[in-house]
């Protein structure tokens, strides 16, 4: 239980820092809304098109927002070498990873909760047909981005071009999770019963979360102590 106590202390500290400065939150929120707005103006998004591509448009905005959020995750520790104090503390690498992933996940959920109604207005979509199922997909997809992004944020912390390197490393690895989340979101926005392959896509998203969370917990200590 020590790991959970340490992780929650780190998550609370990160959220407190972020809500004090709003550096990542403001940037990610405005960026994702601008993406939705640009797509709404750039393409003739009729009801038929949106029911086929709505999930893609939405997760495109979420994925770009996630890079801005997770980029701050470890970058926040660079001024004053706070990372050294955290790594020399009794909190394990796994607790550090978990705490930072939870903070990024919660920030992403805040952004997504604001973007969803904006998406509904811009594209004239009824996105709340299956609210509980959609919430589950959003939460699972957000955890995948937060978890994967936190690992790459730790890996790129000392790189000069980390703002560029982070998305370049993170996006290809996220393809299975984002693809699942896009497909599931499309299904959930369409009227009528859910298609038979819904459960398959859901299994893929859950599997991705489990596999990469386990791998990250096991490997993060090696990344932090060089």
């Amino acid at each position: 239980m020590t790991i959970l106590r340490h992780a929650s202390a780190i998550a609370i500290k990160d959220l407190r820092s972020e809500f004090r400065t709003k550096e990542a939150l403001n940037g990610a929120l405005s960026f994702s809304i601008v993406i939705l707005l640009m797509i709404a103006f750039a393409f003739d998004t009729g009801a038929e098109l949106v029911s086929d591509y709505g999930g893609g448009i939405l997760w495109l905005a979420f994925t770009f927002a996630s890079a801005l959020i997770v980029n701050r995750s470890f970058a926040r520790e660079l001024p004053n070498d706070c990372i050294d104090v955290l790594v020399s503390s009794p909190a394990s690498g796994a607790a550090l990873f978990l705490g930072k992933s939870i903070a990024s996940f919660l920030l992403l959920v805040v952004i997504e909760s604001i973007c969803l109604p904006v998406f509904g207005v811009f594209f004239n979509v009824t996105w709340w047909r299956n609210p509980s199922q959609l919430a589950l997909v959003v939460l699972l997809g957000s955890w995948a981005m937060a978890c994967m992004g936190t690992v790459f944020s730790a890996l790129t912390i000392n790189l000069r071009l980390r703002e560029v390197m982070l998305p370049m490393l993170m996006y290809p690895m996220l393809i299975p999770a984002v693809l699942s989340a896009m497909t599931l979101t499309n299904y959930l926005m369409q009227p009528g019963p859910l298609p038979p392959d819904y459960a398959q896509w859901m299994r893929m998203l859950v599997g991705f979360d489990i596999i990469f969370t386990t791998l990250a917990l096991a490997l993060v200590e090696t990344i932090l102590v060089r």
């Binding site: 020590t2 202390a9 070498d81 020399s88 009794p90 394990s92 102590v225």
Partner: protein, 233 residues
Amino acid sequence: MSQPAVEAAGVWKYFGDYPALREVSFQLRGGECLALLGRNGAGKTTLLRILAGLSGASKGAVKIHNGDVRASETRARIGWLGHAIGLYDELSARENLTAFGALYGVSMAAIQEWLERVSLNHVADSPVREYSRGMRQRLAVARAFVHAPDLLLFDEPFTSLDDKAIALLQSLLSEARANGATIILSTHQIREAMELASKVALIERGQLAHFGPRTEAMLGDPSYIYRTFGTAA
């Protein structure tokens, strides 16, 4: 004889092909204070980082209280103060100490006590970015001491402190030593370090050029150790 509090055995550290540390070996017992001296780039910070578990040795081994330095129980006993203050500018002094204290299970009463000891109680709820350099350094000292560590690893702790703050830090370190804590100080301010030190180490180009007890001659003459044991002076 009791177990050494700190033990470095044949420690090497390479950065690429460059050996930043070469075969460094020493032992310190509980309650001892080591002044780690050396020119810029000699390897003092690298050695301290390895002792704090922030970096791994390329060869050799480090043990703290006969335990692995990366073990959680070992790290809970270490107080680290590096070149930078290790504090969040956007948080207040109280929030900083609370955040770090939570990782060590420190009570709010202890945090309040340390805010008073470093005379920051009156600004405890203001963001650290509004503090002067000396106030930030005092808060960093409180952060390193707040969990009552029994091994203190301080890298240039006297830098940017005024006379009053230096006296405070020296009294805190003396008190910690009297309570059995082991201290390793890397510093260029030899006079201040010598007042506290029981042992002195001189590190040159990654090698220990000298390791031994502090003598009266070292206390009176800050450059004595470089003149007597140094080769690169």
